[in-house]
C-alpha cells in the first residue's frame, strides 16, 4: 500500500490524540460563555427553502470564482461557511448566515476572523501557506486589518456555530465583533463506550455532540444536514485536496510530513484524476482521510449532497456532482415555486 494511504488509515486515532486534550480544556474554559445550543439555530430564521450552500476554503473558490457567482445569482437559501472561508466570503460580498469554528489551536484560528492584536507577521506560516486569496500574499498586515474591519462590520449579521473545543481567543473575537454564538460539542469517541469523553462532555454542558468528520468543512456540512435539516446541500470550496500545480511546500501538512518522513515525504502525496475534468489533483494523508470520511458519512446521510466545486477530489457514492450554476438555478426554481 502507498505510504500516504497507510498513514491515512491511522488518522482517526491520531486526530483524537491531537485534539482531545486541548479541546476538552477549551470546553472547560468556554463553559461560562455558553448561553445557547446549536439546536437553537434550527429555530432561527436563516435562508429560505430546503437548499443550502456550504462554503469551504479550498482553492476552487478562486479557481472557479464560486463566491462571485453565488453572489451574482442572488441565492436565497442558507449559507454556512467554514471559519477559514469567512474572509473570502466577505471580500466577495457574501455574508454567510452561519460560520462554523472547531479547531482548538490557541493562536492560529483567530486569524480567520481578523486578529485585532496582530501587529507583525508571526513566525508560524500556517496562515500564509493556506490563505488562497492572492491579496494575502502581499501585505499580510494590511489584509488582516481589512478583514478585521469587514468582520466588525458584518459580525452582528453572522451567527457562529462554535464547538466547545474552539480556542478562547476565537470566542472572544467573535463576541467582540457582535456575533451570536451557538454551541455544540465535538464527538470525540463512541458515546456508548464506557468512560466515553463525549458522554462526559454532554453530561457537563448538555450540548449535542456532532460527528465532525476530521475538518471544519465537513463539520459545516454535518451541521447543515443534521442540525439545520437542509435536504439539498451544495458544496463550494470543499475540494479535500490540492489543485494541480500546487507546490508541495504550500500544502497544509508539509512541515510535519518533512519532519516525520524526511526524504520520503513526497511518497505521502496521493494523486488522483478527476473523472469529469480530467485534472490531476492530489491529497496528503490528512486530506485523503477527510475524503474517505466524507464519503462514508454522505453514503448514509438522508440528504442530497451536490459537489459544486467543479474540481477537487470529493466524488463517489453519496455525492452528486453538478455545476454551481445548475444547483443555484434549481434552488431558485424551488424558492419561486414554494414562495
Amino acid at each position: 500500500m502507498e505510504l500516504g494511504r497507510k498513514i491515512a488509515e491511522a488518522l482517526e486515532a491520531a486526530t483524537f490524540e491531537r485534539v482531545a486534550g486541548v479541546g476538552l480544556a477549551n470546553a472547560e474554559a468556554n463553559r461560562s460563555r455558553i448561553a445557547r445550543s446549536v439546536l437553537d439555530l434550527a429555530e432561527t430564521p436563516l435562508g429560505a427553502g430546503e437548499a443550502a450552500i456550504v462554503v469551504g476554503a479550498g482553492p476552487s473558490l478562486y479557481r472557479r470564482r464560486s463566491l462571485e457567482r453565488l453572489r451574482a445569482a442572488g441565492f436565497a437559501g442558507t449559507i454556512v461557511a467554514a471559519d477559514g472561508a469567512l474572509g473570502a466570503c466577505l471580500r466577495a460580498g457574501v455574508v454567510p448566515h452561519v460560520v462554523v469554528s472547531v479547531d482548538p489551536h490557541p493562536e492560529r484560528i483567530v486569524r480567520w476572523f481578523g486578529d485585532p492584536t496582530l501587529s507583525a507577521p508571526r513566525g508560524d506560516d500556517y496562515f500564509r501557506r493556506q490563505e488562497m486569496d492572492p491579496t494575502f500574499h502581499g501585505d499580510e498586515l494590511a489584509a488582516n486589518r481589512a478583514l478585521v474591519e469587514l468582520v466588525n462590520a458584518y459580525g452582528p449579521k453572522i451567527k457562529v456555530a462554535a464547538a466547545t473545543s474552539a480556542a478562547p481567543a476565537v470566542v472572544e473575537r467573535c463576541e467582540q465583533a457582535g456575533m451570536d454564538l451557538y454551541w455544540w460539542n465535538p464527538m470525540y469517541d463512541d458515546y456508548d463506550a464506557p468512560d466515553s469523553l463525549s458522554r462526559r462532555l454532554w453530561e457537563m454542558n448538555g450540548l449535542p455532540c456532532l460527528n465532525g468528520g476530521g475538518n471544519v468543512g465537513t463539520a459545516a456540512w454535518v451541521l447543515t444536514h443534521a442540525v439545520l435539516a437542509k435536504a439539498r446541500i451544495g458544496l463550494i470550496g470543499i475540494d479535500l485536496g490540492y489543485a494541480p500545480g500546487t507546490p508541495y511546500e504550500k500544502t497544509q501538512y508539509y512541515p510535519e510530513l518533512v519532519e516525520i518522513l524526511g526524504d520520503r515525504h513526497r511518497e505521502a502525496f496521493i494523486h488522483t484524476t478527476h473523472p469529469e475534468t480530467g485534472e490531476v489533483w492530489f491529497s496528503d494523508p490528512a486530506y485523503h482521510w477527510f475524503r474517505e470520511v466524507f464519503l462514508e458519512m454522505a453514503r448514509s446521510a438522508d440528504c442530497r449532497t451536490v459537489n459544486c466545486t467543479e474540481g477537487g477530489l470529493l466524488f463517489g457514492p453519496g455525492i452528486t456532482t453538478a455545476t454551481l450554476d445548475s444547483f443555484l438555478a434549481e434552488a431558485a426554481g424551488d424558492t419561486t415555486r414554494h414562495g
Binding site: A163, Y188, S198, C209, N211, G214, N215, A226, F290, V293
Partner: protein, 81 residues
C-alpha cells in the same frame, strides 16, 4: 524455543527486554502521527449527531428509513421545521 536451537554457551552481553523499546517506539509514532491529524475527531459507525439520552427521538425520523435516520441523529433530533 526448540531444545536443539539453544546455545551451549553463555553470552557476555545483556539482552534487554524489548517490551520497553516497543512501547517507546509506539509512543513516538503516535505522537508523530497526531501532528498529521485533523482539527476535529471522526467517530466511525456512529450517528452524525448525538443528543444524549432520555430525550425524544428525532421528529423527522420516518419509519422504514431507520438506517439513514440513525446515521443522522441519535437521541433527539432537530425539531419540526
Amino acid at each position: 524455543m526448540p531444545e536443539f536451537l539453544k546455545g551451549n554457551y553463555k553470552l557476555d552481553a545483556k539482552i534487554e527486554d524489548k517490551a520497553d523499546a516497543t512501547d517507546s517506539t509506539d509512543e513516538f509514532e503516535k505522537k508523530a502521527l497526531s501532528r498529521l491529524g485533523g482539527s476535529i475527531c471522526f467517530v466511525s459507525k456512529k450517528s452524525l449527531m448525538w443528543q444524549g439520552e432520555a430525550q425524544p427521538k428525532a421528529s423527522r425520523a420516518t419509519p422504514g428509513n431507520g438506517d439513514k435516520d440513525k446515521a443522522k441523529a441519535d437521541g433527539a433530533g432537530p425539531k419540526d421545521r
